[in-house]
Symmetry: C2
């Protein structure tokens, strides 16, 4: 009879009791989305997901955006390993997923070989189940949270002693930016120089508690399907953009230094300037790619004009825009500027979904900041907003998506 | 009594008969628009309009796009010098216009001092009148044709012996790209290295007759007012874009060499590839500017997708897009591909103004090449088309916009 493994949010480690051979071992975690302010674009090693430049992101609150994953294993499970996302079967046989599973199993196997009393979990088939608390259709990069949750959940299941930074080496092989979702707050991914990638990992620049006032307003843009996947796109950029090398070797290293200084000093204007320039630099190299890659559309441009209008109205830099490989705009601002920044957008987009939460309700509208064509384009093109803030790294939870019998809970 | 100076298209020189002191001397010319395939963006000397990189353009046919200018002078005219464009007074006191007028007068004055029998035209007030045969609202860069026509007309009025390349040094000071409109066919503007700019001038790469099959389809996009003037924009790019230097010092010099080879060999795929990459490189540095400059909009992007669809359908590179500092798309193609390229756009845009001329009527539609969102966006966003081709340099004409009494003909 399988044993119910219960976990609490404060107890990261799975502690199964090995009663008999068909026990189901479980561990669950939630992991955050991160939005880079210095962008990852270009791989020096596509197999190992080693980047051509370092990057830096803000981890966002899991209250608003998170992947919840339960990892389970049991001698009673039939191979192969399986993964469900929102109850739909997902491939696990791809090289990226396999790289993660193989690495995690190897770490567990090493533990088992030093302590023969440990149950041989590394030999059991894995059953994984994940769910996102945000709409997949929103076009938010979910692979970062997804792979971070997968790696963290299995590491907890296997009771691995590795640190989040060490685990980031594994998550990186699943999805590059996933390595940054193993940590909360302000997180760098140092590109590293070693051929085997063992120095290409996440590093805590500052915890959430250092600068907890950071807020993010995400303008979700109703986009057509994404034209170019980021994996394909970034390699085409590396191969064809003559200006890309300048970005990778000169622009980003300088931006990394300046951004770490800005975060250390809680210098929002500095943070904002680098963030906006970085986003533009990244999208410029996309445009310099052959054939050109466009992620920004007219709605994205209206969002940029909107942020510029907010800053002009404020007479200082109160807001920063950034765009990943898609048209959604992420606007960073400080809590104290909620009305000045989010308020300007609320006045125009107040009818859209996303303002009913605590953070959204607290925002007081700011009339007349966004006007004319910018206002119209945003109203026509933004489908919903998400209000969130800087948040913590993965959190171990007792709420399992797989029950004690190994069945997926829908 | 003023004397009517009649001129023919084959007789460039003004030959006034000096009957008495109130003669009106006149010369008229038309000058072409040129559309760069290697873009001018950035000045190393803003006053002298010396560029940070060389550029190269195709001169377009004056049957479709031209500025017509009459230059006149007379001792009977009252100062100051005047200019009318489409019968509306235009400023002539600006530094750029004055640089042109001063240089041309100096050349005339030098002639007069070597031959005292010449009438002292350099001392007479100038009366200039210009008209464009294309709508100003079309957002087509008219300053190139405008300054080329102004310089050519006054040079003819003054019977200056200078070559078009020598005159291009003067036109350059009016508007950088105007220097290329002094010549027909395929024209380079060599950036030069001298501080005084005397080696920064137009050069004939190949006459129209070398490759007369080049055609251009201009998709005129209904744009909001231009956000950033090119003069302001290019200087902001030079000052703020970290990737701009790479473009100016590495990307463009290579593109110039390759483009001259492609033109010499009448290699359209080569010409097209460089043209598209160059346009994207230029707009990438605009995006890399702080604050970012956007000239391309969703309609421009649909035009790019349209050209990509045409080339995919053809299974070869039959069309090339390029964009100046605005959303209009210029599509280059060869005469033999009229149906393949212009036909694909005619099927979608056949109801728009611009297809009723000889070239447009000859185009046979190509069904189904442009589809879905691209088709819809082009239909919604393109206001008219212009069909044209590679053309000749300025042409001296006998049709004057100022009558024998010095009155402007409306």
């Amino acid at each position: 009879m399988p044993f119910i493994v219960s976990k609490t949010a404060t107890n990261r480690r799975n502690e199964p009791i090995d009663m008999n051979g068909d026990h189901v071992y479980r561990a669950s975690t939630t992991a955050p989305v991160n939005i880079a302010v210095i962008k990852y674009w270009g791989k020096r090693d596509p197999r190992l997901n080693l980047p051509t430049n370092s990057s830096l992101s803000v981890t966002l609150s899991q209250s608003d955006l998170r992947t919840h994953t339960t990892a389970s294993c049991s001698p009673s499970f039939s191979p192969p390993d399986t993964l469900l996302l929102n109850a739909q079967p997902q491939p696990l046989s791809d090289a990226r997923s396999q790289a993660c599973l193989t690495s995690l199993r190897a770490l567990r196997s090493a533990l088992e070989s030093t302590d023969p009393s440990l149950p041989p979990l590394s030999s059991y088939p894995l059953r994984l189940s994940s769910a996102n608390n945000f709409p997949t259709a929103a076009g938010l990069a979910s692979s970062a949270a997804g792979f971070a949750a997968l790696v963290r959940a299995i590491a907890d299941l296997y009771q691995l002693p590795q640190s989040p930074t060490e685990l980031s080496l594994i998550a990186r092989q699943g999805s590059g930016s996933a390595c940054r979702s193993l940590l909360g707050g302000y997180v760098a991914w140092d590109q590293g120089t070693l051929l085997d990638g063992t120095d290409s990992k996440a590093r805590l620049v500052a915890p959430r508690s250092h600068w907890p006032e950071m807020r993010a307003l995400i303008l979700v843009v109703s986009a057509e399907k994404k034209g170019v996947s980021s994996t394909t796109g970034m390699q085409t950029t590396v191969q064809t953009s003559p200006m890309f090398q300048t970005r990778a070797t000169q622009v980003v290293p300088r931006a990394m230094r300046e951004m770490e200084t800005a975060i250390a000093g809680k210098d929002f204007p500095g943070f904002a300037k680098i963030t906006m320039r970085e986003s533009n630099s990244f999208h410029a190299t996309c445009l310099d790619t052959d054939p050109p890659i466009f992620y920004l559309n007219d709605v994205s441009r209206a969002a940029i004009k909107g942020v510029e209008a907010v800053n002009e109205k404020a007479g200082r830099i109160a807001a920063a825009y950034t765009f990943d490989a898609g048209p959604n705009c992420v606007v960073y601002y400080l809590e104290e500027d909620g009305d000045v920044v989010a308020g300007a957008f609320k006045t125009v987009l107040g009818e859209k979904e996303g303002w009913t939460g605590e953070q959204g309700k607290a925002v007081k509208g700011a009339e007349g900041v966004l006007q004319g064509k910018v206002m119209e384009t945003l109203r026509d093109g933004v489908s919903r907003v998400i209000l969130t803030s800087v948040g913590e790294g993965p959190i171990s939870v007792g709420d399992h998506l797989i029950d004690e019998k190994g069945e997926v809970v829908v």
